[in-house]
């Protein structure tokens, strides 16, 4: 009986009912075809735009998405959104809230990895402030053994260095970031050897501040490698512009003389600074 009932039902096929689906399919296929056809135009432009904008990487944005900042990012307010989150980071930092501050610091650079300011100051909070917060939380300096304090320093320094290495992916060859890594090794981990290596690496980069090379030479002295420091400063001095106060060429010359005394260099073999061009020679 059942099959008779089914057979008796006349299924009226109405082609007009399919029109919206057909139109939808044509639209989707049209868009797909356009996407495929335009890919050769899009791809080279997109590759060049992405290469110049590290902020467009997935790794950069994945921490920021879903934090209520998507609209800001889409709207183009990247700079102002990051600035407002930086203010919030400082508010959290005032409360010595370690996880909150650390998360907020990473969020700020996820939103806008372009400014060095965020990376440098964020890493300083992690490396220099957070070990103290942990010590306070563990009962204070008197209650926490030296070994535990050292462990806190090492752990936080490790986080800060990793953070700065991440920054270098967005700012390759930026001397200020390498100097910051050097500072963490020197000031927090008291690792003079490693710090010296980073100061040297930073000093060799274009636009490196003059003090990078001076600190490297000072660390060589502290490590007892005076001859090496002397040779380095001798090479450095002629490259320093005398008219630039930041270059501190007089300080470098003083240190060369101190090293000559320490190394007992005979007078005849002592470093002779290159003669400055005289006014008469430069006059027309």
């Amino acid at each position: 009986m059942g099959w008779l009932f089914i057979a008796s039902v006349t299924v009226r096929f109405n082609p007009a009912a399919l029109r919206p689906f057909r139109a939808g399919a044509v639209v989707v296929l049209g868009l797909f075809a356009a996407g495929v056809a335009l890919r050769p135009l899009e791809a080279p432009a997109w590759a060049e735009i992405r290469a110049g904008q590290p902020a467009l990487r997935l790794e950069s944005l994945k921490d920021a998405l879903g934090q209520g900042v998507t609209v800001g990012l889409l709207g183009g307010f990247r700079a102002i959104v990051a600035d407002l989150f930086w203010i919030r980071t400082n508010t959290i930092w005032e409360d010595n809230d370690l996880p909150g501050t650390q998360t907020s610091i990473k969020l700020v650079t996820a939103i806008d990895p372009r400014p060095l300011y965020f990376w440098l100051n964020g890493s300083r909070m992690i490396a220099y402030d957070m070990p103290n917060w942990r010590i306070d939380k563990a009962g204070g300096y008197d209650a926490v053994p030296e070994a535990v304090r050292l462990r806190f320093d090492q752990e936080q320094s490790s986080v800060a260095i990793k953070y700065l290495e991440n920054a270098l992916e967005f700012h390759p060859g930026e001397p200020l970031l390498i100097l910051e890594i050097a500072n963490v090794h020197l000031n927090r981990l008291k690792d003079l050897e490693t710090a010296a290596g980073f100061y040297l690496a930073a000093s060799r980069l274009p636009d490196a501040p003059f003090y990078a090379a001076r600190i490297y030479a000072e660390l060589l002295r502290k490590l007892g490698r005076n001859a090496e420091a002397y040779a380095f400063l001798q090479q450095l001095y002629p490259t320093l512009p005398t008219e630039d106060i930041g270059a501190m060429s007089n300080v470098v010359l003083d240190r060369i003389r101190e090293l000559e005394d320490d190394l007992n260099i005979p007078g005849a073999q002592r470093f002779q600074p290159p003669a400055a061009p005289s006014a008469a020679a430069s006059a027309p």
Partner: protein, 280 residues
């Protein structure tokens, strides 16, 4: 007289575009969003104190483009949907389409009217931003002449190029909204879907990055297909290039402009096709 008996007319198209433009500039929404954007750009210098990261001029430029992109997107979606549905709800579309008027003339006329309105919005916002940057840069040149030894730092030509590319992006967005409106029944649905598509078009490159290389072949294929269906709006995000290296590459700018124009044509054509299948 049927539509088939009359040839496609640019004068009819321009008449519809002109009317759409006039209708749009009379809208409170346009004036409100324009005022908001202009106010925000003008107030950029008061937000300078909030700036920690980039240089002051870069911050003003970022802020100006932020206002342009944010309010421009809102204006494009809302105005396109509103102007399209006002014709349907007021029954003027019935009167118009009863005449020998191509649906393509109607759709592209609407598009050009909206595109012109957005052009005015972009011109005013970019113009104000450039004036503000010029003024502030002049002040800074007097305060710190050593920083401007080689003249002005801002590439004003690049600002203009990026402004034009944003305008073209809004054109693609307007075409998408018209396509949605061509089959949608309500203004609200069109606006909401338009915003969703805007977000998808901005973020589709992330989906391509994240899911394009997944082990699941079917999922990877679906994501790659979606990457082809939606235009990549991040391509127009050239504001960050200003002041970096050699600035905005003319070749890239031309490629992006070509991409936008091609998409406007294709999506506009699909909107016409979809609208022809619609009962009014």
């Amino acid at each position: 007289m049927s539509v088939a008996s009359v040839p496609f007319s640019f004068s009819r198209l321009s008449l519809i575009a002109g009317n759409t433009f006039l209708e749009a500039v009379r809208q409170k929404l346009f004036n409100f969003l324009l005022l908001l954007a202009v106010g925000l750009v003008a107030s950029a210098q008061f937000f300078r104190e909030f700036n920690f990261g980039s240089s002051e001029l870069k911050f003003i430029s970022d802020f100006g483009f932020g206002a342009l992109i944010f309010f421009g997107s809102a204006l494009t979606i809302a105005t396109t949907a509103q102007l399209f549905f006002s014709e349907i709800e007021n029954r003027t579309a019935l009167t118009l389409l009863a005449k020998p008027l191509w649906r393509a003339e109607f759709v592209f006329g609407k598009f050009l009217g909206v595109f012109a309105v957005i052009g005015v919005f972009c011109a005013l916002t970019i113009g104000l931003m450039m004036a503000l940057l010029w003024h502030r840069e002049g002040q800074l040149m007097n305060i710190r002449p050593e920083d401007f030894a080689n003249g002005r730092l801002i590439a004003y030509g690049d600002l203009l190029v990026v402004g034009v590319l944003q305008w073209l992006k809004f054109g693609v967005l307007a075409a998408i909204v018209l396509l949605i409106a061509s089959f949608s029944n309500t203004n609200l649905f069109t606006v909401v879907t338009g915003f969703f598509v805007l977000v998808i078009c901005h973020l589709q490159y992330l989906a391509r990055d994240a899911w394009g290389n997944v082990d699941n072949a079917v999922l990877g294929l679906v994501v790659r297909a979606l990457g082809f269906i939606f235009p990549n709006f991040q391509l127009f995000n050239l504001a960050d290039q200003i002041g970096q290296g050699s600035g905005v590459s003319p070749v890239v700018a031309l490629q992006v402009a070509g991409y936008a124009v091609a998409y406007i044509g294709v999506i506009g054509g699909l909107a016409v096709y979809s609208f022809r299948n619609r009962e009014i």
